[in-house]
């Protein structure tokens, strides 16, 4: 029996196939674009997370007792050396008196 290929691939089928091919290309293209976007977002998240850690470290360094002590010294504060208590109408108040 002779097979008539022309019957199978008539015009409408060809059009559908072409359309599907175009859709496949568009879909693949979008998928690649989305993947790039996901990669970019992932990199950004990683970089922000690094930045966040670095900032945390800076805050910790600036607020450490060592830094505060150094800054207060530079500003002229001195360490209290004597503790005195004042009896103000039955309220006891403890104060450190500077030299």
């Amino acid at each position: 029996m002779k097979l008539n290929i022309g019957l199978l691939f008539d015009k409408s089928i060809m059009i559908w196939l072409a359309l599907l091919l175009v859709l496949q290309i568009i879909y693949s293209n979008q998928l690649v674009n989305h993947a790039r976007k996901v990669d970019e977002l992932d990199n950004m998240r990683r970089s922000l997370s690094d930045e966040n850690e670095a900032l945390k470290q800076q805050v910790a360094a600036i607020t450490s007792l060592q830094s505060i002590e150094a800054r207060s010294r530079a500003l002229g504060f001195v360490k209290n050396t004597r503790l005195i208590s004042l009896d103000l109408s039955s309220i006891m108040i403890a104060l450190h008196a500077a030299k």
């Binding site: 790039r36 690094d50 910790a60 360094a61 007792l65 503790l83």
Partner: protein, 557 residues
């Protein structure tokens, strides 16, 4: 016909050839090719967990993470190896010859250059514009308060597989809680390196480590470290340590040893410095132990504060002569005076009233000879000799704290019972464990057992206040405060004898005596300016106590 047959034969031949080739590719070398393909398009990314932080009681960071990088070279991508090494050595301290040799090893795809490189150095390396250099993110520990509480915190080093592991202190004890669990991501990429979005990408999220919130107060810790260092230097001592504990909860408010080390550069220090002597080293407590024996005697009603004791000369027990520390004798003295004068003879008399068996039982009940359970990796305990090995002289010297080895944490815990109404509380460093989602586990104080009646501990508190106000250390005491305390000067055992010159000077106490906020022990090892606790450890104790009164807003009475 021939042409058709030729075509059929050709097609059949091609079909067989293709089938054979496919059989070869898919069956014979299929596994190898599949594996090769997977390595080409699949990428396995390790998602490291972030190690938990350690914060003080007010939430200030004591240990946090800092971004760092593993720097490595890819020899097959390097254009000019000589230039590569020269440029890299201008930023990183590398051995040029050794590193060049590593790059020349045939077939080597990956050569590590440096670990835990900080972000500034990483940027400097990137600015060199080298091809064949790459970075992998990792973290390293950052200590904003530098070496503060180094012995308590411990440090993070590498294990045998090169992975971060905590050693000593909290880092060691809570290593599993702090380290968390790494995750992973397996994804596929196209030849240009772009990710292929597939549903079967496997992602296992990392579980970050938990944060430890401590009882430690950084203001108190700072004061303790400052005064301890000053004390050790001033008294020409070998070393020293201070521990401050909340007697009600057992929370460790401060803990310091000197000399100390910097945990961020722990390899620069001798490993002997890593050990936390407060929980891991033993010493003979000397006269500070007298308060515990005295309290037991009062608890058992064998004496009261005004019971008269004979102290008219040295005592001889089993051929050994026991003298007072200054060889002065006062005739009849009260029990309270025995503590004030720190009378060894008086204490031996009290020990006899208690009886050897009860004395030894009581030592064990107070937790000596067993671990306190403090949450620090390096805790160790000296053993108490079996009861059948105790002789009369051993029991006699025990009453004034010689012939028994204890750790500083055991002493603080035992004296803490006098400050809190008679309860032996388990000391704890960590107050809360906070998981990455913010859920918190509170670590409740644990009262191990009652070791004194409340009334006995109150009487002892008064006797200790009296010992401070009228004892050898009264000159250093802050005026107007009721501090319960006791000095101690213990000789150091050496090859079965006591060293004649070397001592461990100590002072233990709590304040304010009516409503104690802290119990503190100061030990100064081998002071050279004076061997006595009253002239070395006591002034350090009072200096710290003065800071604490101000910090807690406790006025003088």
């Amino acid at each position: 016909m021939f042409r058709i047959r030729f075509a059929y034969t050709s097609f059949a031949f091609i079909f067989v050839a293709i089938s054979v080739r496919l059989f070869y590719w898919q069956i014979i070398v299929g596994d190898r090719l599949r594996a090769q393909a997977v390595t080409q398009y699949s990428q396995f990314i390790s998602l490291p967990s972030s190690r938990g932080s350690i914060i003080t009681s007010d939430g200030s960071p004591l240990v946090i993470n800092q971004p760092a990088y593993l720097v490595y070279a890819k020899p097959n991508e390097i254009e000019n190896k000589y230039e590569f090494v020269q440029k890299l050595s201008s930023v990183l301290p590398i051995d040029i010859q050794e590193f060049s040799a590593l790059l020349e090893i045939p077939g080597r795809l990956w050569v590590p250059v440096a670990q835990k490189v900080d972000i500034t150095t990483k940027e400097l390396i990137s600015a060199l514009g080298l091809t064949g250099i790459a970075f992998e993110k990792e973290t390293k520990r950052y200590y904003p308060e530098a070496s503060m509480a180094a012995h308590l915190v411990g440090f993070v080093g590498a294990d045998k597989n090169g992975l971060d592991t905590g050693y000593f202190g909290l880092e060691g004890y809570y290593n599993r809680q702090l380290s968390g669990k790494s995750g992973s991501l397996t994804l596929q990429r196209d030849p240009s390196g772009t990710r292929i979005l597939l549903e079967d990408a496997e992602r296992i999220d990392p579980e970050n480590g938990r944060t430890l919130q401590l009882w430690l107060d950084k203001t108190i810790q700072k004061s303790v470290e400052h005064h301890l260092q000053k004390g050790v230097e001033r008294y020409g001592a070998k070393e020293g340590s201070v521990i401050v504990m909340d007697p009600m909860s057992g929370g460790i408010l401060a803990m310091a040893s000197y000399p100390k080390y910097d945990p961020s550069k722990f390899t620069d220090y001798t490993s002997e410095l890593y050990k936390n002597s407060i929980v891991g080293s033993s010493y003979e407590p000397g006269s500070t132990f007298k308060v515990l024996v005295m309290a037991k005697a009062i608890d058992l009603n064998v004496i009261h504060a005004n019971t008269l004791l004979r102290e008219d000369g040295p005592l001889t027990i089993a051929g050994y002569t026991i003298r007072t520390w200054n060889n002065q004798y006062h005739g009849n003295i009260t029990a309270s005076q025995a503590l004030t004068y720190s009378s060894n003879v008086g204490m031996v008399v009290i020990g006899e009233k208690i009886g050897n068996d009860k004395l030894l039982d009581f030592v064990k009940t107070l937790g000596f000879g067993s671990l306190t359970g403090i949450d620090l990796q390096d805790e160790a305990t000296p053993q108490i000799r079996p009861e059948n090995q105790w002789t009369d002289i051993d029991a006699a010297t025990l009453t004034f704290g010689q012939g028994i080895a204890v750790t500083p944490i055991q002493m603080v815990r035992a004296v803490g019972a006098l400050a809190n109404g008679g309860w032996l509380i388990d000391p704890k460093v960590v107050k809360k464990i906070i998981d990455p989602k913010g859920d918190t586990v509170d670590i409740k104080p644990n009262k191990a057992r009652r070791v004194y009646r409340e009334a006995s501990s109150e009487v002892l508190g008064e006797m200790m206040v009296n010992a401070v106000d009228n004892g050898e250390a009264k000159w250093a005491k802050p005026k107007g405060y009721r501090i319960a305390g006791k000095t101690g000067t213990a000789q150091i055992p050496l090859l079965g004898h006591y060293d004649e010159e070397k001592t461990i000077a100590s002072f233990i106490g709590f304040a304010p005596s009516d409503r104690p906020r802290f119990v503190m022990l100061v030990t100064i090892t081998e002071p050279t300016t004076s061997p006595w606790g009253s002239e070395t450890a006591a002034p350090v104790f009072f200096s710290i106590a003065e800071d604490l009164f101000l910090y807690y807003g406790i006025p003088a009475s």
